[in-house]
Symmetry: none
Amino acid sequence: MASEKARAPTANPRAPQQKRGRERVAALTASASALFVEKGFEATTMTEIAARAGAAIGTLYLFFPTKEALAQAILAENAEDLSARLDVLRERTGGLNAAAIADALFGVLGDFLTTHAAYSALLDLPGDEGWRRKMRAHRRGQIAALFAQAEPPLPAGQAERLAVIVPQLMRIPLALVGEKRLRDGVLEELRLMLARHLEG
Amino acid sequence: MASEKARAPTANPRAPQQKRGRERVAALTASASALFVEKGFEATTMTEIAARAGAAIGTLYLFFPTKEALAQAILAENAEDLSARLDVLRERTGGLNAAAIADALFGVLGDFLTTHAAYSALLDLPGDEGWRRKMRAHRRGQIAALFAQAEPPLPAGQAERLAVIVPQLMRIPLALVGEKRLRDGVLEELRLMLARHLEG
Amino acid sequence: MASEKARAPTANPRAPQQKRGRERVAALTASASALFVEKGFEATTMTEIAARAGAAIGTLYLFFPTKEALAQAILAENAEDLSARLDVLRERTGGLNAAAIADALFGVLGDFLTTHAAYSALLDLPGDEGWRRKMRAHRRGQIAALFAQAEPPLPAGQAERLAVIVPQLMRIPLALVGEKRLRDGVLEELRLMLARHLEG
Amino acid sequence: MASEKARAPTANPRAPQQKRGRERVAALTASASALFVEKGFEATTMTEIAARAGAAIGTLYLFFPTKEALAQAILAENAEDLSARLDVLRERTGGLNAAAIADALFGVLGDFLTTHAAYSALLDLPGDEGWRRKMRAHRRGQIAALFAQAEPPLPAGQAERLAVIVPQLMRIPLALVGEKRLRDGVLEELRLMLARHLEG
DNA sequence: CATGAATGAGTTTTCATTCAT
DNA sequence: GATGAATGAAAACTCATTCAT
């Protein structure tokens, strides 16, 4: 123990136990999410995050031992939220045909990505590959399961392929910030394209 | 550096006039491209780039005044290459139907993105003022022009929407490193989906 | 490699190759040694070390990737110096009796510790136990070998015990800063005590 | 803290008057002592100390206004204990010869240092203004007085020198953790050396 | 008395960039 | 053209200490 030197920062990234603590954490993650979206992960500084949340830098480190841990916490929270939405969706799409499922999925993904912009911003970051890989695999599994229930059933393997494709399709219009008309057109085009493909 | 922020990154302050100089620059951009793909733009250091190219850090700065200028030079070179390929493609697709054009475009984009991985890595950097935006607009224009020649003609506005969509579609399978079978399946699925959509 | 994140700071703690570089390093280690002695390892800041050496903080990190590495480099240099002196001493003490050896050793250690005060200051630091253990073992071995040559020979095991004891004896008077008379008296007392012990 | 530097560390701002309070303080000093020995004064954090004692950080500051005050309280307690032992010893060694006194002193010091490891750890901290110096002077005085009673009397000044030397001698074997055989041998060697010296 | 969330000054460390040779 | 030692602003992170509850 003498030579421990604890390279892991701040041994105490405790989950907040008081109500105020949870509000603090919420403000910090909101601030971080917004900045990550606006300027990207690397260009955002911890000092900035704390300042925008009206907290001191030390407070930020009280809850998140590193910048990476903060990003991951946000990503994990968003991923859980998405996962829950997909679970709910599954109950509603039993027995539907693939095109209808795709349409419902589009709705869910569009809403999620719009309200959780940090998810997209943090998803493709380098580093900590293992964890993110697992997360993606889980998401793929959920979406594949969605399509696997389609009636009539899809050809073998197509559910897995759609699980890769559909979430990426949804990111395309969302990247078109400030071009609202084009964005809506593209979204509609994608929706139509997918529907045709699944009906054909 | 603090007061330098304003300097517009002009690529190649002195374009190398000697043969050796051009080789130097090629080695440097190759090194930088590889590192940007491997670790991302921010995580790559100028020292690393020079070292991998077997050059001194001062030599790197001889040709590229800032890290951004280096990235931009690489991006510009790649973009020119892509532009040229799209120009060539245009001559070959006059009078074809949209599905055939899409198929040909898939081929060109797939080949390009595979051999120019840095393009993807550098294209969506945050803090994207002006230049990159213009570049993307140019590319969109080229692809839209491609589809505008289709016979029979596409509905109004679809060429523009496809110009946004198709390049992003091609990035989906390319992200599936290490899952070759799935990757090929996804690529085929996308190709088929697009073809059906354009024929329908 | 993508997830490398290189926790080890500054990949380039290169040994200086130019003459000026070696002078720089010497100035930095001298500055650090003095401060470590004056205020202790923990209380000394890297900024202070660089400033006293007339260098920028970045220059310090150019040669020493961490504060610990700096301390260790100093310790290693001092230890090598001591080792060399003990080697020289050994050639001069062949065939002497133990008391004479002890006396000569006292001289060498006293001179060394006086001119290398950082050695004492850094020797008992926590952390990196393995390396320091080895260093101490080496020193013990050298001193034990010195006494092992004594004529007449010492009882079994005594050389090893003396190798532990004698260096610590020498540190006693050196701790008496600012009490010159007492210091000299203590040194003489120790010398006499050891001599009697070895003659008895 | 920056402007606090001047505040003379007064031990025990409010000495605990309740039974529970005294237990609290005991737990806190025990925790601190253990950590100071294990990791050194600087590397030990106040939070850690409180945590190991099962107390809140605020509680720790309730009894000790600064980290230095805490260290000093521990040191003072240990020093008082040692002082008391030396007082007792003095009553028992009246009229003994110096060698016998030294032997008895060895016993007392050995026992004390073994059970009060924090004393050694805190005694030689750098930046040692005033208080610790006084404490050492007091100890020296007590030990010198011990030897001053020796029968036959010692040469002038030797009692003072022994007061410096003997406590340091005892620390030598105690540093040999995990080498029990060598440790015992060294202790015996020192005892013998000192006895001979004082008899000679 | 007791708590533990909050603070922010102070440290270590990084890396794009410069410039004397 | 080429070099690489040197720079220092800026970022991440720590921890003694405070204070509202």
